[in-house]
């Protein structure tokens, strides 16, 4: 991280922190979460390679904060689905708290990595790598050719394994 970036973010923080927290609170209805997400927004800025020349810093901050907010809602949504699924597991097979957290992190990460891929591409990938289905079987289930299955798997694999 360059020191120029760091000082820009620091400047943004001092000048707009309470405004940003207010902006987030209006959208969340929860002061606690708003404070957390404001922090996330600045952390995201610090992780960026460079902050563009800021003519309208608040417009820029909202753009980043919207992304953070979106991830937050997505996480909540996944968490709800995950907890529902967990509630159905017979007690003796329920993962321990630590495993639950690990599985959830994996799901989040997978969700993030596969985000933006066409639904069929995702499905082909999950059927192959999570369920261990053969490529012929995937082609049958999805009603596509074997060559297409391979192309989909290739595309999703580059994302999932190498973030490329």
């Amino acid at each position: 991280m360059s020191s120029a970036l760091s000082s820009t973010v620091e400047g943004l923080y001092h000048a707009h922190h309470s405004w940003l927290t207010g902006w987030l609170r209006r959208r969340l209805g929860c002061p606690q979460n708003a404070a957390d997400l404001a922090q996330d927004t600045y952390i995201r800025l610090l992780q960026a390679r460079e902050v563009p020349q800021l003519v309208e810093p608040r417009a820029f901050l909202t753009t980043v904060a919207k992304r953070v907010l979106c991830n937050h809602f997505r996480r909540q949504e996944l968490e709800r689905a995950y907890l529902e699924a967990l509630a159905q597991v017979p007690e003796e097979f329920a993962p321990c708290e630590e495993q639950k957290a690990i599985i959830f992190e994996t799901l989040l990460e997978l969700d993030r990595l596969l985000d933006g891929l066409a639904p069929l591409v995702k499905r082909a990938f999950l059927l192959a790598q999570v369920d261990g289905l053969g490529q012929g079987e995937i082609a049958r289930q999805l009603g596509i050719s074997l060559a297409t299955v391979k192309r989909y798997l290739n595309k999703a694999a580059m994302r999932c394994y190498f973030a490329l």
Binding site: R74, E84, L114, A128, V130, A157
Partner: protein, 309 residues
């Protein structure tokens, strides 16, 4: 761990992953893959990175995803639903969450992951044990007791009860009397072994001390019970003059990844009792017992070959 790779290596690794999962992947291609792995340590690193990610992905599906599903009519449909649900959990965009919430409630769904065995007592006092990578449903009502094996292998000690106990595999339904039974689902048929009691299909009984294939219409290849059947319950793999290739296939059921051997050593014979919980040690013992060496490309890619080659 450093998980950055150059794009070219990543592309090649993904290419090999997908080719190796193709059903037509043959010995020549495997050799080509092995050459690729041996050519550069970066290749091995990329390959093992993929395997590690896959390990995590497989961990997601089981047991959470499986347990949420009602048993659909066929294993294939079941798998499809399971995948849908996972998509639901992993990606709500478009596909998933509606599918997930639309699924009906809890079915008893027991699953054991690769390399693990599970034992549970059912409501009627019967005892169900699942071998590695196995899945079964249990549904008891006032009329009948139904146990359904979706994949893998189970052993059932059936308790006395006025309701009949029906055991279902992909091929059909067996009726079990009080006793002890082993059922293994193969691709296209299932294998039933009777330790005590009797199992019947269409009025034809298979008796204690017998085993047979079951293909829906009736029994095939009825034979005396083999000593190695059911040894898994005690955590053992028992071989008696078993071909090495078959032995490795069996052992491979208990491990993640690829386990195979070269053609030169496939027909070597092996006997003995081996503890399943330490398959790495079994592989080490092979090198002592037979003129073979074990080559590990990664933890998940193991090939047994002739010591002289």
């Amino acid at each position: 761990m450093n998980s950055t790779f150059c794009a070219q290596v990543a592309e090649q690794a993904v290419h090999w992953l997908i080719e190796s999962q193709d059903e037509t992947f043959d010995a020549a291609q495997q050799q080509a893959l092995e050459r690729w792995l041996a050519a550069d340590s970066e290749h091995q690193r990329a390959w093992s990175h993929i395997q590690q990610v896959n390990q995590r992905l497989r961990g997601v599906a089981s047991p959470v995803v499986h347990a949420t599903l009602q048993a659909p009519p066929s294993p294939a449909r079941r798998r499809a639903l399971k995948a849908l649900l996972l998509v639901g959990m992993a990606s709500a965009a478009g596909l998933g969450l509606q599918q997930h919430t639309a699924l009906p409630g809890l079915m008893a769904d027991y699953r054991s992951p690769v390399g693990q065995r599970r034992r549970m007592t059912l409501d009627d006092g019967s005892e169900l044990q699942l071998n590695t990578r196995s899945a079964a449903d249990v549904r008891f009502d006032s009329q009948q007791r139904l146990v359904r094996l979706f994949e893998g292998e189970l052993q059932l000690q059936v308790a006395k009860d006025p309701r009949p106990l029906l055991l279902r595999s992909a091929e059909g339904v067996l009726r079990l009397e009080q006793g002890r039974f082993n059922l293994r689902q193969f691709n296209g048929f299932s294998q039933v072994s009777v330790f005590d009691g009797s199992a019947s299909v269409g009025g034809h009984a298979l008796l204690a001390g017998q085993q047979a294939r079951f293909a829906g219409s009736g029994w095939q290849a009825i034979a005396p019970l083999q000593r190695n059947v059911g040894a898994w319950v005690d955590g053992m793999l028992v071989a008696s003059q078993m071909r090495l290739a078959d032995f490795l296939d069996e052992l491979g059921r208990y491990r993640q990844g690829q386990l195979g051997c070269s053609e030169q050593v496939a027909d070597l014979r092996i006997s003995g009792s081996y503890p399943l919980d330490d398959s790495e040690r079994i592989l080490q013992m092979l090198e002592v017992a037979l003129p073979v060496r074990v080559r590990r490309f990664t933890r998940y890619w193991v090939t047994v070959e002739s010591r002289t080659s």
